[in-house]
Symmetry: C2
Subunit: 235 residues, 2 copies
DNA sequence: GTGTGACCAGTTTTGAAATCTGGTCACAGG
DNA sequence: CCTGTGACCAGATTTCAAAACTGGTCACAC
């Protein structure tokens, strides 16, 4: 055993991710994944309880990368913690990751029934809670308009984000825009509706570190689910 | 022939619409439509060139109803011509018409490949032109913010509208909102981003009749396509 | 202890026959 | 001569059983 277990897990995930993108959810077989990762089939099951858990882990790893990148943005420039900037970054970072994009556009060819499974909804739940916490903190720091409720931010913001994702995917060619421009439009909409007219730079600086931890916590939770999916066995 | 031809066409469309909603695109058969409409199968083909043309006509008739209703809103209250109000009305009227809703949410189970066909894209084209004209007139009357380009209105507005439609369809139950509230949120987003701070009431009153005609023209064009689909034969 | 692939049961794919359906048109009815 | 019809056809879809495949296990090799 000349190799690190975590490195092996990542090699398996690499193979699975590659197949998932190339062939779509249905065609990914454990045999093929194992072959490409250079391990025996049984070895895959030493890491994940089932095929579904493996593919879910692939998505989670992509998501970790995305959230880490967004956290990095905020760390570098605290002003990026504002709703419009953070969602814009989320949009761009997701767009650059095909599997995450598939997640947001409900691409069932690529993701199959993965998001509808119990572990899938569980993961969505974790993400949801994080977002609600983010909105809550934004408000506490005076970075949301007073005349818009948190429920409205939560719903309308999701709708807008969703709209931009689907639009970029299936808009006819004559409508296509550069990603950065789409992200800019998205930011414009969110800023105009949900941010106060003159957001306090100081408030953003105070909030930024909290959001960075929040995102890193989320990444950590995901990381746990990727490499220790069997943590709550024997239910 | 004791009956009006247009009435017969509508009876066939009624039957087809019913089946389309009940059974979805794939299961609608011309035989069944004819039987329910109380006519022979061949008679259906006296009205429409093909199955696809018939089903397209069903959608067009629904759309005509929707646009007519929106036009009526604007006629009753000229202030409803503003982007946020008109889109909000469009949202509500579409939501009340399952087939139109299916159109906006790309419900392929119900619509099949209908929107992707040549006549489908042609119809979309007509609608698109009408919307562009609407944006153009809004700007001419000073009812759009000067700092947002028409291209941005066109793209971002579509994205936002799209987002609210998809959100209402597939949001998890705990997110569900009353339609009117969703429409209100939609209006709030569009107003904040695209409308000038204090839109002129007088401008709206001047514009309203033009938009009413624009919508009625669109309805007329659709009407033509519904009952005379073979107008451009022998290509 | 760690890793493997032969093995099993249940699912999916295959392919050819049977059925169905969009579209036509010769003819009935007036 | 005109309108409306349903039997008919070719091609598409469904059916169903046999064959092939695949997720997951575990006895065994190292």
């Amino acid at each position: 055993m000349p190799e690190n277990k975590s490195a092996r897990a990542d090699r398996i995930l690499d193979a699975a991710a590659d197949l998932l993108l190339r062939w779509g959810y249905r065609r990914v077989t454990i045999d093929e994944v194992a072959k490409r990762a250079g391990v025996g089939k049984g070895t895959v099951y030493l890491h994940w309880r089932s095929r579904e858990a493996l593919l879910m882990a692939v998505l989670l790893r992509e998501s970790v990368g995305m959230f880490t990148a967004v956290a990095e943005h905020v760390r570098r420039d605290p002003d990026q913690v504002r709703l419009s900037a953070l969602m814009s970054a989320l949009y761009l970072e997701s767009s650059a990751r095909p599997l995450v994009l598939a997640l947001y556009t409900k691409d069932t060819e690529t993701l199959g029934t993965l998001v509808q499974t119990s572990s899938g909804t569980q993961v969505q739940g974790v993400k949801l809670v994080t977002f609600e916490e983010y909105y809550h903190l934004l408000r506490e720091h005076g970075l949301l308009r007073a005349d818009v409720s948190n429920d409205e931010v939560s719903y309308a913001c999701a709708a807008v984000l969703f709209g931009f994702f689907t639009m970029s995917q299936l808009a006819p060619a004559e409508f296509a825009q550069p990603r950065e421009q789409e992200a800019g439009m998205l930011a414009g909409v969110l800023r105009a509706r949900f941010e106060p007219p003159r957001p306090s730079k100081r408030a953003a600086e105070a909030l930024a570190p909290k959001i960075v931890s929040l995102l890193e916590d989320l990444a950590t939770q995901y990381h746990e689910l990727i490499y220790r999916p069997d943590i709550s066995e024997g239910g």
